[in-house]
Structures are given as structure tokens and as C-alpha cells.
Amino acid sequence: MAAPCRHVGHHIKRNGRFLRINLDQLFASRGFRWTSALQQQGAEVHKESKEPIVIPRKKSWSSEAVLEALASTVHRDPTAYPYQFQDDPYLSPRTSTEFKLFSLSQESGRAAAKYFVNNNPKFFTKDFAEPHIPCLMPESVALRLEEVSEEALKERITLRKVSAAVEMYDQLLQAGTSVSMETTQELLDLICLYCDKNPVQEGAPEVADAEEAGEETKRRKPKGRRAADHLRTIWKENNNAERIFNVLPEKDSRCYSALIRGMVKHGAYSKAFSLYTDLLNNRLSADVHTFNALISAVPDVRDKFNERWDLITELLKQMNEQKVRPNLLTFNSVLKALRRCGFLAKTYAPQTLNEMKALGIAPSLATYDHILAVFYKLGSSGPNNTDIIQDMLTELEGTSFTCQDPHDVFFFSSAIRICLDSKDLELGYKVHSLVEVGDNWRLLGDSYQQSVYYGRFFSLLCMMEHIDVVLKWYSRIIPSLYYPNPQGMRDLLQALDTDGRLDLLPTIWKDIKTLGHDNKVDLVEELLSLMAREEHSPEVQESFAACALDVKSVFDGRSNMEWSTSSLSHVTTLLLRANKLQQAWDMLLLFKAKNKVPSEVLLNNFLSVCQSSGAPKRAVELVQLAAAFCLPATPVLAKTALAEFQLTDEQRSILSEFEASPEKETE
């Protein structure tokens, strides 16, 4: 096929001139044949073109403009698991425990690899990468310099070896060499940051100290929320930092600053303030970080609200005198301290905000969070004035935030808690739209905070929204963003009940099993009671019966789940409604096995189903079972059975025995 084209091209090249001349003549001849109308149109076009042509200014696109445009067409895939996991059903986490387990095991694998790399650096030093990638080179973890010198001290400080650094410093002082001021300051910073302990690395921490510290914190804070609280360090009396500090010939403000901030960080608040008074007596000035630390320590050194506020104002005045300019963290610590000042907060928080505005410092999410905490008390569900949060959200609409304060991550969960308490759905949607702006999802915090936020958001939806919208959100955020806890599933069940969509209960049961909540007995019992409460259409009843059998297999499979009377009777009722007589009979035998007594209603139900499906033998067995339980309803049952069923003589004789009063039975 290629050959003919070549020929044609060749032909055109050779005869091109002829062809072109012919074509021109053709066009020329056609031109003369144009009608007058066309000619007039031609004239108009010519006139219009007399207007100035505005050439738009050339737009300059960034080099990633095409990629960004393509990326904007793709939204988050709600069916995908988080990207850090492998894309395989066996390796995807289904519950929140699995999520944590898998991500932690992946991290520990990485830590193991780093350990190997850092301990055998000679295999990893060959550098292929161009340009050089520093983070892929082995880090020096071992000390190289052993002699007593300032360089060795600096090396220990950079490698964060606290105790080795202190030792080296003492050796240097004993040897008589003077250490430069800068190195001393860095050493003090190091000791104060880590509270005189070596930072916890891959190896085990110093066990004895940790236990001791853990005991003390346990006594101080019996209601510690998480394990992290127990690892909090305590500033010991006369530790290395204080010792070195006291020995220093000249203490400058940076040394004071290190000590004060270390003391505040590790809980020695009153000492921090006494050291601050020392600083003032020596006529030095503190820097903004020291003031921030002192302000955040105020609620721990004074008990009364007005005393606290007075101390804060005094510190701020001194800050002004020392010509130290406050920053965002200063105001955030003021507001955080105000949270613990009770009724004073409502007066002074707006004043703090005005000061911020006067200084031109833009508030961060932590500021807003403190204000919400001041004006909206925890757990109050009365008619709250939602004006403040409404104004706040309207102002923040469409803004994207970066993290400027560690406390920023608590804003979204507090905001959604307020919406939940005041049962305001519109407000909740506003908060969520703020989360979806740009990169704000990063400010939802760690996985625990995220689960708190989504849990509250989902409960708000279940409470207030129509079931179709709830189910839409359900498919969007579960399980890709949030693994609901049993309370969340209960809210969903209530929402289904309110809107009469109980036919969806079997699918919800499947989700409960996937999430690993099928071992929560009260949740399963609630599900069963919702299913068994009313009669539904036959297909729905069939699905309910299948679901009930599934629940039964789950109960049988787990040894720690106990049947209760109500759950047994619900399952039996569901099976009876779907006319599954054999399985219902097995359930009654299970009653006997677990020593639970079936109710009269249930037995009557059973009898009527026996009658409709024509199983007289079953009816006799049922009456025998009722007699075995010594139920008072036995004679009634026997009478009904005799009356309504076609029975053989043998069966009649058995039943007539039971027709007698129960006292005779027990004899």
C-alpha cells in the first residue's frame, strides 16, 4: 500500500505546477459565478473588519497548568482505600483496628530498614543519584570523636545524645577548658528540650526512669486519656540543666529562656516563674517564646480566675516594656489560658481579638477554636446562640489554611460538636464545605481526631437528614474516610427506622460484620429487635430470615457471645414469619440448651405457623416442649392443638395428658 502513495506523491511533485495552475483557474472561474447576494455579504464582512481588532494579552501558564487542569477533573474515589495501603482486597484494612495495625507495621518495617542502613553505613555509601539525595544516605548515629573537646560536644548535641553531651561538658569543665557561650546555650537547649533524658529511639527507653515518671504521672492525673499522657516527663529537682545553669559565670537571656521553656514544657511551672523573676532582677529581657511559655503556664500557678487574668495582663505589660513584639502564638496562649478563667473569658476574649487585629496578626484555626470553646460550653444542648459560629463560618468560607499552631487540629471537631449539640444541619454542611476547600483536610488532625470529626458529622446527618441523603453520605465517607464505631451504627439504624427503610437492614448487617462490630451484643440485639418488630412484605421477610440465620451462625461461632431471651425470640419470630419451620424448631431447642424460657406469644405464633404449613407432628412436639418448660400456657396450647389439627390417636392421647392442669404434671 505504501508504494502507490509514493507514486501519487511523485506524480504530484512532477506535475504540481500544472495542477496548481489548473486549480487557480478553477477558482477564478468560480469567482465570477458568485451571486449578487453573496457579494453584498462580502461587502458587510469587509465593513465589520474595519473595527479595531483587540488582540488579548498573552496568558502565561505555569509549567504544571495542564496537569492541574487534568487533576481537577478527577475527584476523590470514595470506593478506594487510603493510598498508603496496597491495592489488594486481602491487604486492605476493613476496620479501624486493622487500619492502625497495617500502617504501624509498615512504619515499623521502615524503621527496621533505617536501623540496618544506619548501623551498616559502608554498604549504602555509593552515590548514584544526581543530584545528590541526602535523605537516602545513611545517617551517622555512631559518635566519631572520642577526645574531650568542644567539637566532640557539638557532635553529641547534633546527634541528640543528651547524657553523653552532659558527660562531655563536665569533662571539659574539669579539664579546665572553657566552652564557648554558643555551645553552652545549645547544650542547655538540648537538655531542656528532652528533660535530661535521651530521646526515645527505636530501642527501649531507659526503663527505670520511664516507670518512675509513669507512676508519678499516674498519681497526678488518674484520668489520663491515652497512653501518651503516662509518658510525660517531669522536671526533676536540681537536674543537669539547673546544675549547669547555676554554675555558669554569666547567664544571658537565651540561657534563661531555655530553662524557663523547658520547665514549662515538663511541668515545673512555679519554678519557671521564679526563674523569670530572677531574669527581671538581672535586668535582662526575655524573648517572645519565653513569654508564650509563661502565659501558657499561668493557669497552673494561680487558682482564682481574676488572679490568673491579672498575671496574664502583667506579663503582657512587661512584654510591652521590654519591647518584645507578640506573635500569633502569644495570643493563642492568652486565649488558651482564658479558657480556664471561667466567666472572665467572655469579657476578655473579644478584647484579645481586637489587640490581634490592631497588631495585624491574622488569626489561625486555633484562635477560632479557643473562641468557640469560650462561648459554647461543653455538652449544653439548650437553645444556644449560634450567631457567633455562623459569623465565623461565613467569614472563613473558602479560605484555605496552613497549620500554624499545634492546636489548630482541634477546630473542626469542636465546630462540628457545636453543630451536633445545636442540631443545626446547615451549619454542619458549612463546616464540611470548609474542610473540603483545598488542603484543609490536613488540618483534621491524626486518625483519632479525624474519626471524632466524621463520627460527629455522621451522627448529625443521621439525626437530621432524609434517609436517601444519609445513605449517599454513608457510601461516600464509609469506609474510605471513617470506620464507624458501634454508636455510629446505632445512629444509622435509628435513621433507617425513622424513615421506614427497614428493608435495608440486611445490607447494614453485612457492613457491621465487615467493620468487625458483630461481636457487640447490644448492637446485634438492637438490629434483631428492629427486624422482628413488624411484619413486612414476603421478599423482605425472606431477606430478614436469611439475615437472622447469619446472626445465629455468628453467635454460634463466637464463644464469648451469649444469647439472651429477647434475641432468641426475635430470631425465632423472623424464621417463623418466613415459614422456615425446621430452623425455627432448632431455635426452640436452643432455648432449652441455654436455659431460657420462650414466651407465650412465641409459642402461639409457632402453633399457628404449624397449622398453616400442616405439620401436626411438630405441633405435638411443641406442646411437649412447652410442658418440659412447665409453662402455664401448656393446657391452652394442648387444647388449641387438639382442636385445630388432624391428629392420630396416639398424638391425641399425648395431648390430652397435657390438657390437664400443670399441678398434676409436677407430681
Binding site: F85, Q86, D87, D88, Y90, L91, E98, L101, F102, S103, S105, Q106, E107, S108, G109, R110, A112, A113, K114, F116, V117, F123, F124, D127, F128, A129, I133, L136, M137, P138
Partner: protein, 171 residues
């Protein structure tokens, strides 16, 4: 052609031996027997056996089927004209295959496929579901990090799991 080469080789060998006087001085003459070489291909070919050996698709097809019925196990651009580094890539591949075989011991269901995209190394492997998922993730994190530090480029693992090896036929 093979036969003639060997006979000329044999002749040269005999003359070389003859030049050393060892041969003629010994009582027995020792000679070298060379048979005709059978030019048989035996690379990556599993021969027909009793019929009880399960083979995957990869193993069942011979190397001449590459680009017809099989793909490539290692994909990189160093074999193009003017691109250097083919030998280094091959050595890296060998190391990576042994590393994966050893780290995920007993779990590999098929050969490891190595793809190079940009400066990234993507190691794709099919695994059997022998280990619980958290152990898989530990090994995945460990391999990715160690290989990245070793080769100074981002290394990603793409793992898919199977219940059993996918048998194509029995030979």
C-alpha cells in the same frame, strides 16, 4: 558445521599435545574424545514430564514466545540506541529478584516484574496469602525503604495476593 569445528579443534589439541613430549613418552596414548555438539536450547524451558508438575503461564512458555505470548519481566530503556547502563540495570535486577525471593520467602507466586519509570523503581510481585496482612506490610515497608537507600531512588512495591499459584498447565 558443529562437527567440523570440533574435529579441527580436536586436531589442534592433538598437535599441541604432540608438541609436548609427554604424550609420546608414555606407554598408553591418551586421547580426547569429543562428540558432535547437539545445539540444544535449554534456557528457561521446562521439559515434558509425567504430567504432575504444575506450571504457571510464565514457566510454560519458552523464551522464544517473548513478545508473542509473554511480556518482559524487566522494563527499562537502557537497551535503546545511545542509552547506556544496560549492564548495571541487569545487575540491579538480579539483586532485586534475589532480595524479593529471600525477604518474602515462600510467598512469591510468580516471577517478579521490575519496571523503571522516570527515576522510580516499581517492583511488582504476585504473592500467596501465606502471611497475615500486617506481616506483609512490615516486609513491604522494610523492602521499600532498604531498596530506596541502596539504589538512591524511590522504590515502590506493587503487591497482589492470590490464594494459590495460578496453574496454567501440568507437564
Amino acid at each position: 558445521m558443529a562437527a567440523s569445528l570440533s574435529s579441527s579443534g580436536c586436531a589442534r589439541l592433538m598437535t599441541a599435545l604432540a608438541r609436548s613430549s609427554v604424550l609420546y613418552n608414555s606407554f598408553e596414548s591418551r586421547s580426547l574424545h569429543v562428540t558432535a555438539v547437539c545445539c540444544k536450547n535449554q534456557a528457561a524451558r521446562i521439559r515434558i514430564g509425567k504430567g504432575d508438575k504444575p506450571l504457571t503461564y510464565e514457566q510454560a512458555h519458552h523464551p522464544h514466545q517473548i513478545a508473542h505470548r509473554k511480556g518482559w519481566l524487566s522494563q527499562h530503556t537502557s537497551n535503546l540506541k545511545g542509552v547506556e547502563g544496560a549492564a548495571e540495570r541487569t545487575v540491579e535486577d538480579v539483586f532485586i529478584r534475589r532480595f524479593m525471593f529471600g525477604t518474602f520467602h515462600g510467598c512469591l507466586a510468580n516471577e517478579v516484574v521490575i519496571k523503571r519509570r522516570g527515576n522510580m523503581l516499581v517492583v511488582c510481585a504476585l504473592m500467596l496469602q501465606k502471611l497475615p496482612p500486617q506481616k506483609f506490610y512490615f516486609l513491604i515497608g522494610y523492602s521499600e525503604s532498604l531498596l530506596s537507600h541502596f539504589y538512591k531512588c524511590p522504590v515502590k512495591l506493587d503487591i497482589q495476593t492470590l490464594q494459590d499459584k495460578a496453574v496454567y498447565k501440568y507437564l
